[in-house]
Amino acid sequence: MSTEIRSILSEMEFSGCLKTDLTLGLPGGAPPKPGSKRGFSDMVDLKLGASCDHDEVSVSTPPPTKAQVVGWPPVRSYRKNMMKSCKYVKVAVDGAPYLRKVDLEMYSSYQQLLAALEDMFTCLTICNVMNERKIMDTANGIEYVPTYEDRDGDWMLVGDVPWNMFVETCKRVRLMKSSEAIGLSPKTASNGLSMNR
C-alpha cells in the first residue's frame, strides 16, 4: 500500500494517546490494560475512497478522532445491524390509556430520558425535590415513581445504576403512582418491586 497510508496507520498504532476510548465498563472504572491495542477506528481519517455508507467515513471535513476504514473489519451489514442494540422500550404510565416507546440509545443520561418522557406525556413535569427525581402530574397532584423491569424480570427503581448499565438491562419502563409505592421510599427500594405478570 502507499507508504503514506502505511505511515499514518503505524503512527496511530504506536502513539500512546487515546482520545476516545470506548469501553463498556462503569464510568470511572479501570483504564484499559497496558499493551492492549486501540481499535482501528481511532485513527485519523484516511480518505481511502469516498464511501456511500453514511455510517462510516464522513466525506466532508474528517473529525480528528473517530474515523473508520470502509469495510474493515469485514463484517456483513446484517451482522452489524443485529449487534447494534436497538433499545426501544415500552413506557407505561399508570392511568394513561396507551403506552409509548422510546429508544434509550437516544439519550445519554437519566435527566435526558426523564425530559423526553415529560415531552411525551405532556401532563407530567419533573420535579427535583431534594435531588430526588420525581415526576408529577401537576394538574391532579399525582406523583409518579419511575421504575423499570430488568433482564431478570425484576422491577427496579430508575436511577440506581450507571446510565450505561441501565440501558443494557432495561426491558421496559413504568411510571408507577407513588401511592402504590407506599412504604417504599427510594432509599430502601434496592430489593426492587416484584410484580406479578
Binding site: 481511532d42 481511502l48 449487534m83 431478570d152 424480570g153
Partner: protein, 583 residues
C-alpha cells in the same frame, strides 16, 4: 478409435444415464460432459441440479438450452467484498430474468438457492405462480424483497418443503405472511425466518408447526417470545435444528419451567442457534440438549457473559461447528479446547463490529484451540493481535485446515511480540496445510507472504488480501503459483498494472478478480479488456450516477478505484447501472 471408446459405445444411453445418476457433484458432472460428444449429450439431458457461481458468466437462455431437465438451480450474484460495503448498491445480480426465462420455458423448477442476489417481490410472485412442484427456496445474504413476496410463496407453493432465509435484508411490512400458509400445507420440513425484523402471527405459527409433522428445522426471529417457543416445542419435539427467537423470561415463572420440560423432550436437536436477546439466567433450560449438539451458533447473542458461556459449552462435548463472539475470551476458548474434541469448524466474530475497543481474544485462544481440537479444519477468527510463533504452532498442530481466515481488527498490526510482519506465520500455515482451499490474510504483510502462498498453496481456490504487500511481485507470486485459484479479491494493496497484465490468460481459468484501492490504471484495464474478449472488465465508480467526478474525467493514466473482472460466455451484461462501465 481406441478400444475403450468403442466398448463404451455399446452401452445404450439409458445405461450411461443411470451410471451418471451416481455422479452428483457438479464438478464431476462437468468433467463427465467433457469426455466426448455422446457423454456430453447424455449428461446434458439428465442433469437436474445446476450450480452457477457467477450469474453473469452465462445467461438464462443458455442454461435452459443446455439443461432442459433442470429442477434445482443455485446462483450467486455479487462478489464477496460486496458484503462489506465495497460495492455500491444497485450494482446488479437480479434474479428476475432467470425466473422469467424458466417460467416461459416451462422448466419444472423445484429448488432455487441464491446467494448475494437481488430478489424482488415481483420475482417471488412469479416464482410462486410458475412452478407447481416448487419445493425449496434458500436465500443467503439476499435483499430487495418484502414480506409481501414471502406471502406469495406461502400462499401458492402447495408442496413447499423449505423456506430458508439466511441473513437477508427484508423490508418487513408486518403483514401476515405466515398466516398465508393454507391449512392444507403440511409439507414444511424447514422454516427459517430469523432475519425478519417484524412480528409474526404467533397463533398461525403454532398451528403451522403443529400440522407439519415432518418439520425438522425451525429458526424463529427476534419477535417470537419465549412463551411461544415453549408451545412450539411441545408441538414439535422431533426438531433437529432449532433457532430460538427471544430467550428472556423470568426464570422463576411457570412458563420457564414448562420450557425446560419441553426441551427435555426434544431428543433430536443437533443444531442450535438464536438467543437473539437473551437472559443468561434462562440458559440452563438448554443444558439437556447440549450433550447431543453438533452445531451451535451463539454469534448473535452478545448478552451472554463469558462465564455463562463457558458453563454452557462445558455441556457440549460433541460440538463440531461452533460460532461465537469474541466475548468468550481466551479463557473461554480454553474451555472449548478442553471440552469440544470433535470440533471441526470455529468462527469467532467481533462483538463490536465497528472495531472500536478491545477484543477479548488474542493468539493465545487460537493456539489453545489448535492444541485441543485435533479435528479442526475450518476457522474464521477475528482477533486483537497475532504472532508468528502462534501461527507456526497452529500450523504444526492442525495440518488439516481447508479454510483459514484470520482477521486482525487493525488490518496492519504486526507480530505482537516481535513487531515483525506476519509473513512467517502465514507461510507456516500454507506449508503445513496441504489441503487449504480458502485463505484470508491480515496484519502487517510484505511480498514475502505471497511468495510462500505461491510456493505452497497448491490447492488454494480463494484468497482474500487487504492492506498487504509491497509491490507487484506479491500479486505475481500468487498468480503464477496458485494453479487452482478461482477467486482473488484484493483491496488497498500496492499491486498495479505489471501484475495485472503479466498473465492475462490466467483470468479465464478463474471465476473472478476484484481489485479496489490498488494501483491499476484505466489504461491497463482497457488493454486487458481488449486482449481478453471473454472477460468482462467492470470499472465501478464511487458515485452512483457516474457523471461529474466519475469516469467521464478519468484518464488512462488515472488509478481505477474499483475493478471487478470475471470470465463470461455472454459478453457485457445488459443490466449494468450508470456507474458501472464494462470496458
Amino acid at each position: 478409435m481406441c478400444l475403450s471408446q468403442s466398448v463404451m459405445n455399446y452401452f445404450p444411453e439409458e445405461v450411461l444415464e443411470h451410471v451418471f445418476d451416481f455422479v452428483t457433484s457438479h464438478r464431476d458432472r462437468n468433467a463427465v460432459s467433457l469426455v466426448c460428444k455422446s457423454w456430453y449429450n447424455v449428461e446434458k439431458f439428465s442433469r437436474e441440479k445446476v450450480f452457477i457461481g457467477n450469474c453473469y458468466a452465462v445467461n438464462p437462455e443458455r442454461l435452459i438450452a443446455r439443461f432442459p431437465r433442470l429442477r434445482s438451480l443455485s446462483l450467486k450474484g455479487k462478489p464477496h467484498f460486496a458484503d462489506f460495503n465495497l460495492m455500491p448498491h444497485d450494482w446488479g445480480g437480479h434474479v428476475y430474468p432467470w425466473i422469467e426465462a424458466m417460467s416461459k420455458s416451462r422448466i419444472n423448477l423445484e429448488e432455487l438457492r441464491l446467494k448475494r442476489m437481488v430478489v424482488s417481490d415481483e420475482s417471488l410472485e412469479l416464482l410462486a405462480k410458475s412452478f407447481p412442484n416448487f419445493k425449496s427456496l434458500v436465500l443467503v445474504t439476499c435483499e430487495g424483497y418484502t414480506t409481501d413476496g414471502l406471502a406469495a410463496i406461502a400462499s401458492n407453493c402447495k408442496f413447499l418443503r423449505e423456506l430458508d432465509l439466511q441473513e437477508n435484508e427484508v423490508d418487513d411490512r408486518k403483514g401476515h405472511w405466515l398466516s398465508c400458509f393454507p391449512e392444507s400445507c403440511t409439507s414444511l420440513v424447514s422454516l427459517n425466518f430469523s432475519c425478519l425484523k417484524g412480528e409474526v402471527n404467533v397463533a398461525a405459527l403454532e398451528r403451522l408447526v403443529a400440522r407439519c409433522r415432518n418439520l425438522r428445522s425451525l429458526r424463529l426471529n427476534h419477535a417470537v417470545p419465549l412463551e411461544v417457543l415453549q408451545k412450539i416445542l411441545v408441538h414439535a419435539p422431533q426438531l433437529n435444528d432449532l433457532g430460538t427467537g427471544s430467550f428472556t423470561h423470568d426464570p422463576n415463572s411457570e412458563t420457564y419451567v414448562k420450557l425446560k420440560n419441553a426441551m427435555k423432550n426434544c431428543h433430536s436437536i443437533r443444531s442450535f442457534s438464536g438467543f437473539l436477546d437473551v437472559n443468561g439466567r434462562c440458559l440452563p433450560a438448554v443444558y439437556p440438549i447440549c450433550a447431543s449438539l453438533t452445531a451451535l451458533n451463539l454469534s448473535y447473542a452478545p448478552g451472554i457473559f463469558s462465564n455463562e458461556l463457558a458453563k454452557l459449552i462445558r455441556h457440549c462435548k460433541k460440538i463440531e461447528r461452533l460460532w461465537i463472539l469474541d466475548t468468550i475470551g481466551d479463557k473461554g476458548l480454553g474451555v472449548v479446547a478442553n471440552t469440544c474434541k470433535e470440533l471441526q469448524e470455529l468462527r469467532v466474530f467481533p462483538s463490536d463490529p465497528y472495531g472500536v475497543g478491545n477484543a477479548a481474544v488474542t493468539e493465545e485462544g487460537l493456539v489453545a484451540i489448535s492444541a485441543g481440537c485435533p479435528k479442526l479444519n475450518s476457522i474464521l477468527y477475528f482477533c486483537q493481535q497475532m504472532t508468528n510463533a502462534a501461527l507456526i504452532t497452529v500450523a504444526k498442530n492442525c495440518p488439516n485446515f481447508i479454510r483459514f481466515r484470520l482477521c486482525t481488527l487493525n488490518p496492519i498490526v504486526p507480530d505482537a511480540a516481535t513487531n515483525q510482519p506476519l509473513d512467517e506465520g502465514f507461510g507456516a500455515i500454507v506449508q503445513s496445510c496441504k489441503g487449504l482451499t480458502r485463505l484470508s490474510v491480515s496484519g502487517l504483510l510484505t511480498d514475502q507472504v505471497f511468495l510462500y502462498i505461491g510456493m505452497y498453496a497448491e490447492r488454494l481456490e480463494m484468497l482474500s488480501i487487504a492492506f498487504a504487500g509491497d509491490s507487484d511481485k506479491g500479486m505475481l507470486y500468487v498468480l503464477n503459483g496458485c494453479k487452482k485459484l478461482k477467486k482473488l479479491e484484493i483491496r488497498d494493496s500496492p499491486f498495479g498494472n505489471m501484475a495485472l497484465l503479466s498473465d492475462m490468460g490466467k483470468y479465464e481459468t478463474m471465476r473472478s478478480l476484484w481489485m479496489s484501492s490498488c494501483q491499476v490504471t484505466l489504461g491497463a484495464c482497457k488493454t486487458l479488456a481488449e486482449k481478453m474478449p471473454r472477460l468482462n472488465v467492470e470499472i465501478i465508480s464511487e458515485n452512483e450516477g457516474g457523471a461529474g467526478e466519475g469516469e467521464a474525467s478519468l484518464d488512462d493514466r488515472d488509478r481505477v478505484e474499483k475493478m471487478y473482472l470475471y470470465r463470461t460466455l455472454v459478453g457485457p451484461r445488459t443490466d449494468a447501472p450508470d456507474f458501472v462501465r464494462t470496458l
